[in-house]
Symmetry: D2
Subunit: 241 residues, 4 copies
Amino acid sequence: MIPTSLEKLLSRRDDLWHHLLERSRFVRGLMAEPFDRRLFGIYLIETYHYVIHNPRHQALVGARSEAMHPNYRKFCFEHAAEETGHELMALHDLHHLGSLQEGSYRLSSALLQTELLNAYLYHVSTTGNPLQRLGYSFWAESAYQYVGNVIARTRQVLELSDAQMTFLVAHASIDEKHAAEVAKTLTSFCTSDDDWHAVAQVMEGSLQLQGNLLDAVWDEFVALRAGEDSRYRYLNVLRPS
Amino acid sequence: MIPTSLEKLLSRRDDLWHHLLERSRFVRGLMAEPFDRRLFGIYLIETYHYVIHNPRHQALVGARSEAMHPNYRKFCFEHAAEETGHELMALHDLHHLGSLQEGSYRLSSALLQTELLNAYLYHVSTTGNPLQRLGYSFWAESAYQYVGNVIARTRQVLELSDAQMTFLVAHASIDEKHAAEVAKTLTSFCTSDDDWHAVAQVMEGSLQLQGNLLDAVWDEFVALRAGEDSRYRYLNVLRPS
Amino acid sequence: MIPTSLEKLLSRRDDLWHHLLERSRFVRGLMAEPFDRRLFGIYLIETYHYVIHNPRHQALVGARSEAMHPNYRKFCFEHAAEETGHELMALHDLHHLGSLQEGSYRLSSALLQTELLNAYLYHVSTTGNPLQRLGYSFWAESAYQYVGNVIARTRQVLELSDAQMTFLVAHASIDEKHAAEVAKTLTSFCTSDDDWHAVAQVMEGSLQLQGNLLDAVWDEFVALRAGEDSRYRYLNVLRPS
Amino acid sequence: MIPTSLEKLLSRRDDLWHHLLERSRFVRGLMAEPFDRRLFGIYLIETYHYVIHNPRHQALVGARSEAMHPNYRKFCFEHAAEETGHELMALHDLHHLGSLQEGSYRLSSALLQTELLNAYLYHVSTTGNPLQRLGYSFWAESAYQYVGNVIARTRQVLELSDAQMTFLVAHASIDEKHAAEVAKTLTSFCTSDDDWHAVAQVMEGSLQLQGNLLDAVWDEFVALRAGEDSRYRYLNVLRPS
């Protein structure tokens, strides 16, 4: 009953997001505490550090040696092509946040939590069930519906225009198309309980790591705000006067 | 002088093809000796065995960790997507050659010469200069202009229709677009003599291996025709009566 | 000042272990709460699932394409050879815990936390600074000195003999030699602050993941003890009567 | 009948060597024509360029994800460790051939034929039957018995001492031990006709490529001797006066 399983996957996704949003230090902090543009800066930098890898591990799925339907390989390569360069939107937004100029700073390296997400996504893309990376796409391409109020609050508190939020705004509409393709790809190629199970596992694992990453972003902001030594000290030019 | 270098690459490609066609046992045999559909069958089988890998090693270039222009990565993934499934045209033609039915035989494994081409293309796609695989695309996407008389003679001797030559005929027109893209990609991204040199090396290496592969196809046909034991004995159903 | 840096690394390792032991749900549970052999079973199963990968990612470091001192490559391969098959000690101990027979059950797949450790170790072994995996070896080969009381309490509560604890006991003495080699390798090949920094990062990252893994082992035991549905239900044959 | 198959492999190896030696331009040239130290220099340089990869692709076999006997993995890693650094013997001999000083020249890059051997060995080490690389070791570790007269003639014509031929002389005795281990490993782990077939295929493929490589070495020497432009022109300091 493949349609049933997509339904079950949707239902599980709702549960996971509900759980994540409820427990997230990032979400609780952002909704309840004062914050400034440095938080958005940290978010954009770490987003850059994982989004740049999305097309690469996506393509590695299609390049695997296992027998695979040509249409699924094609999906992987097309999807990889479409995701290429999206990290530049995050950098664009960073450079439009305020007085942080392109070329005026040395980008900090990725946080451990960001590296963990990347390591996990390369791992599930190159080993295990070749369909399982769809579990990541399944939540990542439709995240905006769950975090609308978080984005709205960010926009309002930081007084950001659409042109300063291209990654989130433009990306949201790009992803709608992808989300439909991901659902179609899941129903076309998942043919066993093992397939659905593998997809669900990776959805859960990668969403949990995304939650950890956002919490780490919040923790880093709190430390920076407190004046502690920080890898993000170059963001202090965005500090409100 | 980048345009000069594309010109030099074109000139070198002409030389290499001229040299290959002159020395090729395959071409000399096919143009001068009698042959039957089993030769085309062997060609299609070995073509299947390398074409199926083209999108995979093409995508691996885009997935490399080296710094690379996003547009070059995108080219790699788009090109991989476009090449996906082309091996099915070779199988289609094999099944329309005569009384060889899909599912009635077990496809022989790749010849050593075919494996050598694959091994080399994976190697140059995953190590060395990230642009160098373009040297393969540069001759492969425009091969038809050099082998027109070989294809014409095959068609005539074997009395084949376009519907029996989809890989060569349909592929030829698909590849025209690719050839233009490859030339544009070369001129956009090759920025040093080292880049052009690496591309030229891979053009020479992979074309030489393609020539060896075709010679091995001819040798295998000669052995099969002589009634020797052969991995292609299942093609004897195509033997002229 | 390379010796100073080894000293600093040692001091950092002490801090990280202190922090881990203090916050660990696993350690707190094990030291303060009642538990039975199912906890050790879960620990052995997840240990099996990461130890089996140690020689593989260790060898991948030595197989990297970067310029590397031959003696460091040799260290990687020798170390990989020495670590090969150690996962069998964990299985041996599992089969000597009680009435769980080899072949009578289907080993559960790895927990997400175990997969995260594996994914991270493959990632740091195949990307980034080629020396950085030493940061994992640096704590893993000398873990026994920090967890002596945890092992002692396990032995006492579960009434285990040395023959039932081969992974921990035999491994401890094997690792002493490795620990000395790792220290020597670090001082021989780390020649810059970047090297030491990369090693320290991986020490911190992998030890944190090991802590998370142990916490997940404890959580799984608590759920199993509470009679909840569990991937480890086959361990219930080890439940005290 | 595994011992029979080792016998058959031995017999096939004899045939392949006989065939190679008979047709080799390198062997015929070296046995019949005058030559000088530049030939040995070219041989040593290309030997360096493939020997440096031996431990790396050997280790990649042991690192594969397929189920594999731990003792075979261990063999792979131990063998990789033992082969590490052997390329330095080739460089040593190059620097003791005459007035070519270490550091006084820029090593030419590998010939296409050398790259083809490397590409093939990485390919068979990372795909296909995990035992098949033993087919390379099976001839490479016992080559000296087939090329005794070639080495003797080289030594005599070039008036070389053992200290100037460490790669060939010292290596020969090291390899005796390896050859016995390879035979033992083959009989221990090859358990099906498919295994033996895969090993035999790789023996044939890699030996053929080695023959091509030696022929290319001879061709390059002939061109250098004739005063043509050459990647090895820095070897002209070894030219007899």
